[in-house]
Symmetry: none
Subunit: 136 residues, 2 copies
């Protein structure tokens, strides 16, 4: 049912990406010698849905993706990169001496871990942006 074959509308590229992602997941699962149900038990995701994801019928949410990567012993980066979701950006920023503000944020007791991360992210993105960015 509801297969996207007869849609008629513009074929969004996500179909292809989903196919690749699903195939990759399936390959990894079989490598690990897991059945759908076993993997379902590991990920707390229904075998039904896993099946659909592996066949590229659905776009899994971040939560699901993470659970899958976790169960397969992969990093989430590997999963997405394999599927072509992340644009690889060889853009490493070695933190040289810009430690003043960063250190303050890191040691600020008023921030929760999540907040700390977010704030550091904002700050770093500010600094990185000035160093020059490859236009695409």
């Amino acid at each position: 049912m509801a297969s996207a074959s007869n849609d008629g509308t513009a074929p969004d590229p996500w179909h292809a990406q989903l196919g690749a992602l699903g195939a990759f997941i399936r390959a990894q699962r079989q490598l690990a010698d897991l059945s759908l149900r076993e993997m379902a038990a590991l990920t707390r995701i229904s075998n039904a849905y896993l099946s659909q994801v592996e066949r590229g019928l659905h776009q899994p949410s971040l939560t699901v993706l993470r659970a899958i990567a976790d169960a397969l012993g992969l990093t989430t980066d590997q999963l997405l990169a394999k599927a072509g979701w992340t644009r690889a950006v060889a853009d490493d920023v070695p933190p040289g001496q810009q430690a003043n503000t960063e250190a303050s944020i890191r040691s600020d007791p008023r921030l929760t871990e999540a907040q700390r991360e977010a704030l550091l992210g904002v700050y770093r993105s500010f600094i990185e942006g000035r160093s020059g960015r490859s236009g695409g």
Copy 2:
């Protein structure tokens, strides 16, 4: 208009991450001097939904996340990191650095005025509402 940052909702880690992600997106958008509707036009995502994402009310899908990253000139990875996707590689913080974060931000020569204001805004929004909440 409630619109207060602190709703008193359940403190699931899920929520914290979403809040961080939303705050980050909002900061970036304002840095780029975009309104919600302008950004909506760029991302093809409704301003309404963008508003909800920025306030941490929803967990955006990969597609949406990517569109946002694209519009803001960020890499998908940067956004993904805030979305709780990457495991935080906690860096060590040199002791003795504990100081006034606000002051550090203010005196940071690497920040422009606009960035300074944005960062301070995020920081203040974080620590707002937790004042005087020490009992437990």
